[in-house]
Amino acid sequence: MNFLRRDFVVREPLLVAILVLIAVVFSTLTHAYTQAYDRRRNQLGQKWFAAANIALQQSRPDSAVDAFRTALLYDPKNWDYRLYLAEALTRAGHSKQALNYYESLWQLNPRSGIVNLNLARFAAQSGNVTDAERYFNGAIFGDWPENDAGHRREALLQLINFYLQRGDTGQAESQLIVLSANLPEDVVLRTKVADLFAQAGDYQRALNQYRLAFQIDPQYLPALAGAGKTAFQLGDYRAAETYLSRAAREDSAGADVRNLLAVTQAAASLDPFEHGLPQSEKIRRVLRAKEIATMRLDTCAQSTENPSPSPIVSLLEQEKKLKPSAKPGYLTQHPDQIDSLFEFSVAIEKQSQSLCDKLTPEDSALLALAGSPTSNEK
């Protein structure tokens, strides 16, 4: 032993070798110990993750949050645990905490599609346009673990909705054009895009998309109804009538489709600007419009207790003055008065709209005709 001690102090290399040996032995033991603990941690992490998912499925987001947090305690680096915790926090109403988690996840992987999409939703909710666009684009061009095309499309749809909610129809429309060019053969998706085009005010493209949709499934009610509504907006009442009639034949068609069909049919029969209409038919339609408007005015005057201060009085006086000219013979001799008479009828409808309720389909049709593109062109 004395010999060994002497060596200890005289032979530095030997001493270092012994220290290395001790370090290796203790490192091996420590490694075994940490491995045993890591295995236990992983088991616990998985156990709590499973419990959290069950809580989430059972719509108990608060319990899920606690369980996900516990799972993270045992596996702090686990991406899924963090992501699910952020989702559970969102569902539990802890938006700020969820946002913190998503931000920390974004710092770890800025290309994650799901993280970008969630951050985009938060930014959109808070009205932060720059961040919302940045994160939506991150989601559209980011990485998705599976079905990346579908997820990217979904992200693009959400971006379009965001633009529409903000009233930025130009941006929405340009993104829709991109999206519509790359859509799969999916009637639901095509109809959704058509709906968005309609929301953006691009009725022509919307109608095209609806037509493409019912090329895939001719009986798909939302596409038929949408096409009908869009054709109606475009002033193509004959086409609208066709689509809506087909839609109304379906049992599942709602009251709104049937009501719009009635209005469309009325508009089709009253439209004085229909292409290729003979003069006599045009006069007949204008006179019919005048008749509907006068009826509306009378009904409105009767239902109003004291019409004297109302604009109805002046409309009634004007109607009396125009009575002589509202004759087929007069209008045949004075065709320049046809449009004035129709405009007067529309004016009555517009004025009475704010004063009286209960519009008949004919009244609605006249109002629609007043705003239709063909009328405006006229």
Binding site: V9, V10, E12, P13, L15, A23, F26, Y37, T70
Partner: protein, 593 residues
């Protein structure tokens, strides 16, 4: 104890074998392979870091196992476990520290410091094992204590064991304990720079350049070892700090003031309770860990299990805005209470983590409230929590330098420095004003010890040569003069020595008698060319008076010269001047009136 200093040097040959070529070769070889303690000390520091790192890894895992078995695997323990585990474990700990591991009580920080200054850094291995087991149980069962201080003692203990086994000199043994302590703390807190600074501030108690290299080596190697096994993940996720506007510094100043007050309350509570508990009969003290555990269990049972254990997970949550300010403030108060109970009961475990916990909660609360009233403030709640940690560190542990570097090291963001400096300054000043004796020194005094502290040293006024020197003598001879030329100036004086000014050189000295001999011999050579002048060492006015003392004892009069022009004498110093300066300084210190 035999030290290497006392051992026979193998490089010195015995008289019987001297001279032969074989012996000469052996001598040379032995000299090459001989043990160089200074060189080996640095290598040993690295190995100590590795050993301390491994020990801390095992310590942390044991603590986690203890938590799993005692409190269950849930993030917040069930009320029954929370209520029973700390109390029953407290009883087991008492049995251990009263029977087998008598030196294992307390945090470990002061014990390490005491070992360093009282027993040359010697810490018995039984204490290390005891601290490992009892602190694991205590923290794992939910006692409001942290693993850092015990890790520090475990590291120091391992270093002591290695030094004893290697029979290092007493001087090296004293240096070895802080090396191990820094390694233990660095591995426990995953922050080597803060660990090094903390050990210098709180364990060594003075700045020592000689040991700095070894401490840094051990701290870094321990952190690397720890990360190899446990990963490089920080103990809590630090939110990004971002740019801090100058207007916001006022908000951090408020945090500093509140942190200073909280530090004082915390210190006063411990300072009041600990001596009272220590003064009670020993059999009663046996039950204190269990009673503390019971009270902590009650707090947890009442709905605040966050205060149990080190609480790093909840610090993480506080940093990420997961509590309301009311909850944060309440947790800070309850943690002060719980840590006071655990610590004063003698339960093994440290105050490092609880201090950070209190700071994080307080910072989070202040940050949240300030955001409510001033929504324009850009600093996140996490940033306030991080600054709060530093604030409590500066105010409670009174380690201002460590506190700044800790915040910097943990966040890795330089923008945190300014708010930390502002907040820490207020906290430190308030704490110093309202709590004259720092908590660690107070605990030392409770234990009847007197150990050096860096804060005292910081306040000590260092005396320089300029504080003691007296004005330059009226007569300074010119070196170009001959002795007869110089004689009329000195003949009538009673001075025994005169300075001789030399061109571009420090002054020399000549005695009255030597000068007289030259005059009598009619020596007309310039004084600077004669053998009669003698060179004397010189001093500079800014030099430490302590360094001047050995010279003053050897030379009757020492010139104090200008650093830019060494031939210019600014004053002179003798032993009487030095003694008078020290006497005056001591008088002022002890009796300011």
């Amino acid at each position: 104890m035999t030290t290497a200093d006392n051992m026979p040097d193998p490089s010195i040959p015995s008289s019987s074998s001297a001279g032969s070529p074989v012996d000469s070769f052996r001598r040379r070889l032995t000299a090459q392979l001989s043990f160089d303690e200074d060189r080996f000390f640095l290598i040993l520091a690295v190995f100590l870091g590795i050993f301390a790192g491994l020990a801390v890894v095992c310590f942390r895992i044991t603590m986690e196992w203890a938590r799993l078995y005692l409190l269950g695997s849930a993030l917040t323990p069930s009320p029954l476990r929370a209520f029973l585990a700390p109390c029953l474990t407290g009883l087991v700990i008492s049995v251990l520290i009263f029977t087998i591991f008598k030196g294992a009580a307390g945090s470990g920080l002061n014990q390490t410091k005491a070992a360093l200054y009282i027993s040359d850094g010697y810490i018995p291995i039984r204490t290390v094992i005891g601290k490992f087991i009892t602190a694991s149980l205590a923290i794992g069962s939910g006692h409001s204590l942290g693993p850092e201080d015990p890790s520090l003692q475990i590291g120091a203990g391992l270093a002591s064991a290695a030094g004893t086994r290697l029979k290092l000199s007493r001087k090296k043994m004293r240096l070895l304990a802080p090396v191990g302590a820094a390694a233990g703390l660095a591995a426990a807190f995953n922050a080597p720079i803060s660990a090094v600074l903390f050990v210098i501030e709180e364990v060594i108690g003075h700045w020592s350049a000689g040991i700095l290299g070894a401490i840094v080596l051990s701290a870094v190697s321990s952190v690397v070892t720890m990360r190899l096994f446990l990963g490089a993940e920080p103990l809590f996720r630090i939110p990004s700090v971002g740019v801090i506007r100058w207007k916001e510094l006022a908000a951090y100043a408020v945090l500093g003031i509140l942190g200073g007050i909280a530090s004082v309350v915390f210190s006063k509570l411990i300072g009041w309770l600990r001596p009272r508990l220590k003064a009670t009969p020993l059999p009663l003290q046996f039950f204190y860990p269990a009673i503390a555990g019971l009270l902590i269990g009650l707090i947890a049972f009442a709905g605040f299990p966050q205060i149990m254990g080190a609480g790093y997970d909840f610090m993480d949550q506080a940093m990420h805005d997961q509590f309301t300010w009311q909850v944060l403030a309440l947790l800070a108060c309850l943690k002060i209470l719980a840590t006071t109970l655990s610590f004063t009961s003698g339960t093994p475990g440290g105050m490092f983590a609880p201090t950070l916990f209190i700071g994080a909660m307080l910072g989070g609360a202040v940050g949240t409230v300030e955001h409510i009233f001033f929504p324009a403030l850009t600093g996140s709640v996490g940033t306030y929590a991080l600054v709060g940690m530093g604030v409590l560190f500066a105010g409670f542990l009174r380690a201002p330098i460590t506190s700044v570097f800790m915040a910097l090291e943990v966040s890795g963001d330089y923008s945190i420095i300014l708010p930390v400096l502002v907040a820490n300054m207020f906290s430190y000043l308030i704490s110093r004003r309202l709590q004259a004796v720092p908590i660690l020194e107070l605990i030392t005094r409770h234990d009847g010890l007197s150990l050096p502290a860096l804060e005292e040293k910081r306040e000590e006024e260092r005396l320089n040569v300029e504080d003691a020197m007296h004005p330059r003598p009226a007569i300074i001879l010119d070196g170009t003069q001959s002795a007869p030329e110089a004689w009329p100036f000195v003949s009538h004086t009673a001075e025994p020595h005169f300075f001789v000014a030399l061109r571009n050189q420090p002054p020399a000295q000549i005695s009255y008698d030597e000068l007289r001999h030259l005059v009598e011999a009619a020596d007309t050579r310039a004084l600077q060319n004669t053998e009669a002048i003698i060179t004397v060492p010189h001093l500079h006015p800014d030099e430490d008076l302590e360094d001047a003392l050995p010279l003053a004892t050897r030379y009757p009069l020492i010139p104090v010269v200008n650093r830019a022009d060494r031939s210019q004498i600014l004053g002179v110093l003798d032993l009487a001047d030095v003694m008078e300066a020290y006497r005056k300084s001591h008088y002022e210190f002890t009796d300011p009136l």
